[in-house]
């Protein structure tokens, strides 16, 4: 085997290893497929914010939180040992198709569109962004009870969580949509070029966000200190 061939094979191996390392090791979280429907987690409202909007359990009932993820929070309404219903709030940003069922409905609950799915599930779309759902479990709930439960959520506070309420631009509809300002390819300081005036909107949004999203720990600490209502 000639000397140059050996060098070639060696270099090829090194390049292959580097490429493999780049694709597999520390950059995996950058690759597509990491999040639901490839929507950046930042664009989805955190489930922690939903927890305090759930209905307060009545006497003899207990609310047990079962899942909390980005854009989703779920609790079980229990009476004694029996599970009566699954209550949940989800952000439809990662499930745009779930909005479609609300298009043709005439029913309204506190002015938000309401849909019944099958015999045990009722869903409400709040602020065109959050889906609130009650699914009857075990012996089941009738339509009236489910709608009452839906109404018992703090829907006003939920609507206020929506970025649209914070006067932000509408939800980006696909993964290609970039926040304004980041989409422009080049911003070189050529003297001849006149720069467009910086847009006021995104700055506002960014400033509004911290107030809207309390950080993880203070939120939890406060909740732990407050007496359970």
């Amino acid at each position: 085997m000639s000397r140059s061939l050996r060098w070639g094979i060696g270099l090829l191996l090194v390049a292959g290893l580097l490429l493999g390392a780049f694709l597999v090791l520390p950059f995996r979280s950058w690759l597509p497929g990491g999040t639901v429907a490839n929507i950046a987690t930042k664009e989805v409202v955190n489930g922690t914010l939903f927890n305090r909007l759930f209905p307060k359990p009545q006497a003899g009932e207990q609310l047990v939180f079962t899942q909390e993820k980005r854009g989703f929070s779920q609790a079980r309404l229990k009476q004694g040992a029996e599970v009566r219903a699954l209550l949940s709030i989800s952000d439809v940003a990662s499930a745009p198709a779930s909005r479609n069922k609300f298009i043709h409905t005439e029913e309204r609950l506190q002015s938000w569109p309401l849909v019944d799915q099958g015999s045990q599930a009722s869903a409400l779309l709040v602020a065109d962004r959050f889906q609130v759902k009650v699914i009857g479990q075990g012996s089941g709930l009738d339509v009236q009870q489910r709608h009452e439960l839906l109404g018992a959520f703090d829907l006003q506070a939920l609507a206020a969580l929506s970025p649209a309420a914070a006067q932000a631009p509408a939800i980006p509809s696909g993964r290609e949509a970039l926040p304004p300002g980041k989409g422009s390819p080049l911003r070189l300081p050529f003297p001849g070029l006149k720069r467009p005036a910086p847009q006021a909107q995104p700055a506002q949004v960014r400033a509004a966000q911290p107030a809207n999203r309390p950080s993880f720990f203070p939120n939890r600490a406060n909740a732990a200190l407050e007496p359970a209502a």
Binding site: N51, F65, Q67, K69, L86, S88, I135
Partner: protein, 295 residues
């Protein structure tokens, strides 16, 4: 691409030694156990409706959710798989040692295999740690306070009562004796990193355990096990679980057993995968509950 959670559920065995062992142990647990292996049945059970269109929507959503790496559903399954592989490997070694012990020429090999109680204790506590990690992978940190989080954990383990009963019986009471839960902490105190590294499941879990280095991992595992023992002790007392009762319950389904309890535990370790079987079912249920809420 590997299988989604619901595909894994569909592939679970309907009738084999694992199912029989679980069915046997479920006679000790009120409420019993159903070997749920059909995604469609699970979905219509959660949804309270068997409208095929809705079931199909939930199924598609569940597949999207389980393909997303950040959501952790499949990571929970890979944790269960790592633990299961390790259990089978260790069980197989011990079966081999039992067989080899009877043959004069290879008798000395038997002395080499690690069948000690410490190792069994580590195996159990890694399973408990895997359980807690899988819980956070699947459910996040539900609730706004520690009390709410505790409620959520209790709810989860209450839902999987047969799973927990199997864990307590097969991995604690049978191999370690009836006072296993009280001895566990003492046994874990003797564990060093050498024992830890003898278990293949540790290698699979090390990157997911909080902290850096064996000592930090071990202390996390011990703290987790402390919490779990408090719960498991009450659970075992409530159901009146003991090694003898577990053996009798198993005999109703897998037939008479003439060996000792420790051999039964070894046999179950080597030839059943109760831990990952019930694990897939538990994760699938939580996944479907979420998908049903999101469609």
């Amino acid at each position: 691409m590997s299988a989604t959670v619901l595909e894994r559920l569909e592939r679970l065995p309907r009738r084999n030694l694992t199912v029989l062992a679980l069915r046997g142990i479920s006679t000790l647990v009120p409420g019993g156990w159903q070997n749920q292996t059909s995604p469609d049945e699970l979905i219509s059970d959660v949804l309270g409706s068997d409208d095929p269109e809705l079931v199909q929507q939930v199924r598609e959503r569940a597949d999207v959710l389980s393909r997303a790496r950040h959501e952790g559903y499949r990571r929970a399954l890979s944790l269960y798989d790592a633990v299961n592989r390790s259990q089978k490997a260790a069980g197989g070694l011990r079966v081999l040692a039992n067989v080899a012990g009877a043959l004069p020429l290879v008798k000395r090999l038997a002395a080499l295999t690690p069948a000690s109680q410490t190792l069994q204790a580590v195996d159990l506590s890694l399973k408990v740690a895997a359980e807690m990690l899988a819980f956070t992978q699947v459910n996040g940190l539900p609730g706004d306070s520690f009390a709410a989080f505790g409620d959520s954990l209790r709810e989860y383990s209450g839902e999987a009562r047969v799973r927990m009963a199997a864990l307590v019986c097969f991995d604690a009471l049978l191999p370690l004796g009836d006072n296993a839960l009280h001895r566990l902490d003492g046994l874990l105190g003797q564990v060093g990193s050498r024992e830890l590294h003898q278990l293949p499941s540790y290698a699979g879990m090390a990157s997911l355990l909080p902290g850096r280095g064996d000592a930090a991992h071990l202390s996390f595992v011990r703290r987790g096990v402390d919490q779990w023992i408090g719960w498991a002790d009450g659970f075992a007392a409530d159901l009146g679980l003991s090694g003898q009762r577990a053996v009798r319950a198993l005999e109703t389904t897998i037939g008479p057993w003439h060996g000792g309890m420790e051999q039964l535990a070894t046999f179950l370790d080597a030839f059943t995968d109760t831990y990952s079987h019930t694990g897939v079912q538990a994760v699938a249920r939580r996944l479907v509950e979420r998908a049903a809420a999101e469609i």
